[in-house]
Assembly symmetry: C2
Homo-oligomer: 372 residues x 2
Amino acid sequence: MTPAVWASTRVRRTPFTPRVEAAGVVAYTVYNHTLLPVMFRSLEEDYWHLKEHVQLWDVSCQRQVEIRGVDAARLVQLLTPRDLSTAEAGRCLYAPLVDSRGGIVNDPVISKLADDRFWLSIADADVGLWVSGLAHGLGVKVEIAEPPVSPLAVQGPKAEELMARVFGGAVRDIRFFRFAWLEFAAHPVMVARTGWSKQGGFEIYLDRPDLGVPLWDALWEAGQDLEVRAGCPNLIERIEGGFLSYGGDFTLEHNPFECRFERFCHLDRPFDFIGRAALEEIAERGPARRVMGLEIAATSLPGCVEPWPVTVKGGQVGEATSVAVSPARRCGVAIAMLDRVHAEPGHGVVVSSPDGELAAVVSDLPFPPTSP
Amino acid sequence: MTPAVWASTRVRRTPFTPRVEAAGVVAYTVYNHTLLPVMFRSLEEDYWHLKEHVQLWDVSCQRQVEIRGVDAARLVQLLTPRDLSTAEAGRCLYAPLVDSRGGIVNDPVISKLADDRFWLSIADADVGLWVSGLAHGLGVKVEIAEPPVSPLAVQGPKAEELMARVFGGAVRDIRFFRFAWLEFAAHPVMVARTGWSKQGGFEIYLDRPDLGVPLWDALWEAGQDLEVRAGCPNLIERIEGGFLSYGGDFTLEHNPFECRFERFCHLDRPFDFIGRAALEEIAERGPARRVMGLEIAATSLPGCVEPWPVTVKGGQVGEATSVAVSPARRCGVAIAMLDRVHAEPGHGVVVSSPDGELAAVVSDLPFPPTSP
């Protein structure tokens, strides 16, 4: 029997939980002290539907750490090797946060609301404590808060059509990783063209919990002929899309180069950030490991609840941390951290699953598209 | 149907999980990114057993934040209003951590391993990020880490007898909130007379994951005639015992006086800690709210998954955040944060549960013992 998830005030429900439960969620995880649905029908059914239609995702667990004040821009820049100096308000920037050793503290999307006001849409860790500790220690003038913002993602190829029906044609003008303030129920909400899938879509940063059910219902009703369904980040699709999960695929023990975040590390530009010296040293000698995909010769696999060792000729060369079976590829797909010498597409490796040893081939991330 | 908990590498299993699952855990929560069992048979059965016999609790989710180095003692003292200056190595100290506004960041048990080495056994929040941010900002010389320590609690009136059988008579000499290093399988482990129940017992801070199953099995076998069982922090017992749950009963929005932690706030002693000015101001004017118990006129209640409003004459005066039915009292018991004027034992209030309005009486915390 699979143990149930236990509800309590410590593990927060969301403004959308009543609709998520009515839609028949079968499993939750807990993410940032908040319930996150992970499956509705089956991973496979949810996967195909996401790639063909449109889904509503309760990603309220993507909490916002708000940083504002006269020193906000300086502090936010200190947090990340990504150069934020040229970003105007209205941008969303995926940005690894690193500590003084170059270890990754989190990988939020940073939304620049104004020159002195930012939201960090965080992965699963209490980034607010990191930022508050730094702010106190450095004596900078900022206010740090977690506003009652609950993101609802609308993802899938029909997402733009559905959003346009509820928010008007202006959504079509929002560019990738940009946001605009649009009205719902006469209340302005932030709408961004972002989301944790490769199928396109938006995230609605709802800051009025009382509007959660009305917003869900409006999208639901407007999307009936688009076959709208309740969904959630899909394990198979996100592995194929190369979306790394903080805390699972990478942690404070990994640096941005191991995670292939080079394009977010602007070491050549002369701004100050925490961990610069460490990252420069790692960039100089090259990372010891690299995150890669794996195609595993298997058509069914157990869940990966602890890292699976990856070996070559009996010697461990890494570990797989997220694993699923792709119905599109008809094989297993995985995200794995591998020693650099083996982190090359086409290399043959062996994955030690609880069901035994399985042959696998290293793949790029995201996985190359399948031929139709 | 109750949704299942979804396993992944992000939500950590523990060295004891195989035995917890073999013992028939029926529900988990997630605590510090780690599985925490919450029920085995039923809340009531688990409750009576805990009060009569001995249980093994997988509380690996109580992660240790290790702080060591030349500035460790100074930094740890900065974190808390509790005066640590007279504590010798071998002490465990329950201590609220506060931020500059006096809000509670966490309420760990601080174990002093040496003059320059501490473990913070944390409640559900990433305290390591808070401490690391402070250390970086202040420029103090410490190393901060999360060692692979997985506490196993042995709780209940027969705990001392069981522990003595496995660790020898030396456990009997360990005083309340003290620890000693004792051997298991020729490996020294930290054993403390602590735990999240009022039934007495110990916590074993196991730092060798490979010894998790052997340790569990040794206690299990030695405890057969003591009716040892798998258990976990019990909702009913911990409400009656007045154990507050961080993130559920109190958060960063509460200060130590609201949580009745005065005895851990040594404002009259002249040491430096973060939040001193804020706490002095709150102490001066008195806290606006106080945490109290409630006895609710009900013999069955739904789970409290969102705070339940507490009212007097129709006006809200607080909220209940943890609720259960006590088989010993034959009524509902709750932990509630109440406006100060109503935070007096004997006051009558009304609790708005999802099942309707219920009469309740304010109680002290811990609840006074029931007559036998």
